[in-house]
């Protein structure tokens, strides 16, 4: 077959897919007309992210969601009804903020309720991504786990300290669910790009534009000039991808599109996904008109080893906090000396009054209005008012609160060293102590080489019929 014949045949049979991304976070809301518009523009699927690590380790630690149930259910209702009516799939990733099994079940419960209330019928796939520490210990023994900078090599103890561990699934489990006939896919923890990649790669579209397009739209309208106006429609085809904002007043520009590779990414050109690395260094960004951008030239390089990134959150203690307001000008002008005096006395009294060993607890005194946010990096040091946030962490809640109570008279009355009279600082409420409960930290920054791309994830398919 001649080259020309092949090229024209390819052009005639050019394939493409259009994916509607309504918002960067399920529960974040979107104008309903942007969904109508996306469907009118020919969306072949709706994909939306429902999680992130950005809000901290508590959500993975406890399996609880950050987003308000009512807001999530509201968004899900609009999307589910639109998808079923248009006979296109709906994919939700990283359910319940951290993508734990309970997060998937949480959204699945909402989907079932909505189906009953709205008389919908669809095939539902739930894909679970939690990992057992024992399985990962076996992988560790097999030398299949690697640290990502700046993490150090993993230990069995760290794995076992986690209250929940998830693997970030790539596109394969999601593709498999779609091929099994799923209309609605609720995935546990997945890479930001996996949902879109599953739809596009399944249709044989090229990897470079697929992964780059997926990354560009994963935060919905954040790649447009008006991030709160609504999401986007991504079209991926044989030679590149195009992004169109769903709100008619918003625009995608070459700069807003190119800039999104920088968002929350340590490297602006390369993004590692389970099967390999996206490289956008030679990508070109072209405005097709004042609102629509075309990107070509993204490439994807398959890795030698397919890897799944792990996230794990471990209980590290229990915390209690106290807030006190300082307006006294004399103390404010010597706040460093005051804080040092406070810190020394608290440590002394905890040791003598409670007998708690210094290495079994820790506390933090931060000075809002002075240097709480930037600490030692803060260049400005003038303030007419400082809010002291005292935060203590100990092995159990009772000890944390006992330490806060020992600190209380000092937070209330501590004068500057050598001062003649005793001040009383401004407490906002009684009791002064607030028990924060269990505290968690992210302790895994590692990848594991699985047996297959789907072996770490479990899929359940159910038929829902309330039509």
């Amino acid at each position: 077959m001649s080259e020309q014949h092949t090229a024209s045949a390819r052009h005639t049979h050019r394939s493409r897919v259009r994916i509607l991304v309504p918002t960067g976070m399920l529960g974040g809301g979107f104008p309903p007309e942007t969904i109508t518009r996306g469907i009118e523009l020919g969306a072949d699927a709706i994909a939306v992210d429902a999680g992130s690590t950005d809000s901290g380790p508590f959500y993975l630690g406890t399996g609880q969601a950050k987003t308000a149930a009512a807001q999530v259910e509201h968004d899900l209702r609009v999307l589910l009804c639109a998808a079923v009516k248009a006979s296109i799939p709906l994919l939700v990733g990283s359910c319940g903020t951290s993508g734990t099994d309970s997060g998937v079940d949480w959204i699945a419960g909402m989907a079932r309720r909505i189906a009953a209330e709205e008389h919908l019928a669809f095939t539902l796939a739930r894909i679970y991504s939690e990992q057992s520490a024992d399985d990962l210990v076996a992988a560790l023994t097999d030398d299949r786990i690697r640290p990502l900078a700046p993490a150090r090599p993993l230990t069995e103890a760290t794995l076992k300290s986690c209250s929940h561990i998830v693997g970030l699934m790539g596109h394969e489990p999601i593709s498999a669910a779609l091929r099994s006939g799923a209309d609605v896919v609720l995935a546990g923890r997945a890479t930001d790009t996996a949902l879109v990649a599953a739809i596009a790669l399944d249709r044989g579209l090229p990897a470079g534009p697929t992964w780059h397009g997926a990354k560009t739209v994963e935060c919905g309208g954040l790649c447009t000039t008006n991030p709160i106006a609504g999401g986007v429609l991504l079209e991926i085809d044989d030679t590149g991808f195009t992004v169109t904002p769903l709100d008619t007043s918003a625009a995608c520009t070459p700069r807003t599109i190119a800039a999104h590779m920088l968002y929350e990414n340590a490297n602006p050109f390369e993004l590692r996904e389970p099967p390999g690395t996206l490289d956008t260094s030679d990508a070109t960004y072209r405005a097709l008109d004042s609102r629509v951008v075309r990107v070509e030239g993204s490439v994807f390089e398959s890795a030698e080893t397919y890897t799944i990134k792990l996230e794990g959150s471990a209980l590290v203690g229990y915390e209690t906090i106290t807030v006190a307001g300082i307006r006294d000008p004399a103390v404010l002008s010597n706040i460093e000396a005051w804080t040092e005096f406070l810190t020394t006395l608290i440590a002394d009294r905890v040791s003598t009054a409670l007998g708690v060993a210094g290495d079994t607890y820790d506390f933090d005194v931060s000075r809002y209005g002075y240097d709480a946010v930037l600490g030692a990096l803060e260049p400005e040091h003038s303030s007419h008012e400082i809010g002291i946030l005292f935060r203590v962490r100990a092995g159990d809640q009772a000890t944390a609160t006992a330490i806060a109570k020992v600190a209380n008279p000092l937070l209330l009355h501590l004068p500057l060293p050598g001062a003649q009279s005793m001040p009383s600082f401004a407490f906002p409420f009684s009791p002064a102590e607030i028990e924060r409960g269990p505290a968690y930290e992210f302790v895994l920054n590692h990848t594991v080489a699985p047996a297959t791309p789907t072996s770490m994830f479990r899929t359940e398919i159910t038929t829902i019929d309330h039509a």
Binding site: T53, D54, S55, G56, P57, F58, L148, A149, P150, A151, P254, R255, A258, A259, L262, Y263, E264, N265, A266, N267, P268, F269, A283, Y285, E311, V316, E319, D362, F363, D364, S366, A372, V373, L374, G375, A376, L377, E378, P379, R391, R393, A439, Y440, E441, F442, N445
Partner: protein, 110 residues
């Protein structure tokens, strides 16, 4: 030598977590200021190490000419959400970078 701060000449400087273990900062400039900052060679791992009290060997700096931006990434000094972390989302860390003095490009107003 006449100086301006990076914050005075940049269109936008933003900071954010890049996952739980890294902070990433983006400096968006116009094309002329991007070239000028590049020529001054002021933005180095040592400078960033000093500004943020981090090991210069861990600092990564990228030039992104397509959007006239410079990206700076380094491991989070305090683990996200830890007792001594006061910025869960890493979103307020651009201030030291914005205050960095840049020799004023010759013949230009700030």
């Amino acid at each position: 030598m006449p100086e301006v701060t990076l914050g005075e000449i940049a269109d936008l400087i933003r900071a954010k977590n890049a996952g739980p273990f890294w902070i990433t900062l983006d400096v968006f400039l116009d094309a002329e200021h991007y070239e000028a900052v590049d020529r001054t060679e002021v933005l180095t791992p040592d400078t960033v190490g000093r500004l943020y009290n981090v090991d210069p060997d861990t600092v990564r700096i990228f030039r992104v000419p397509t959007v006239s931006a410079i990206k700076i990434s380094f491991p989070r000094p305090a683990s996200q959400g830890s007792l001594h972390d006061h910025d869960m989302h890493g979103g307020q860390q651009e201030v030291p970078l914005a205050g960095l003095a840049i020799p004023r490009p010759e013949g230009r107003d700030p």
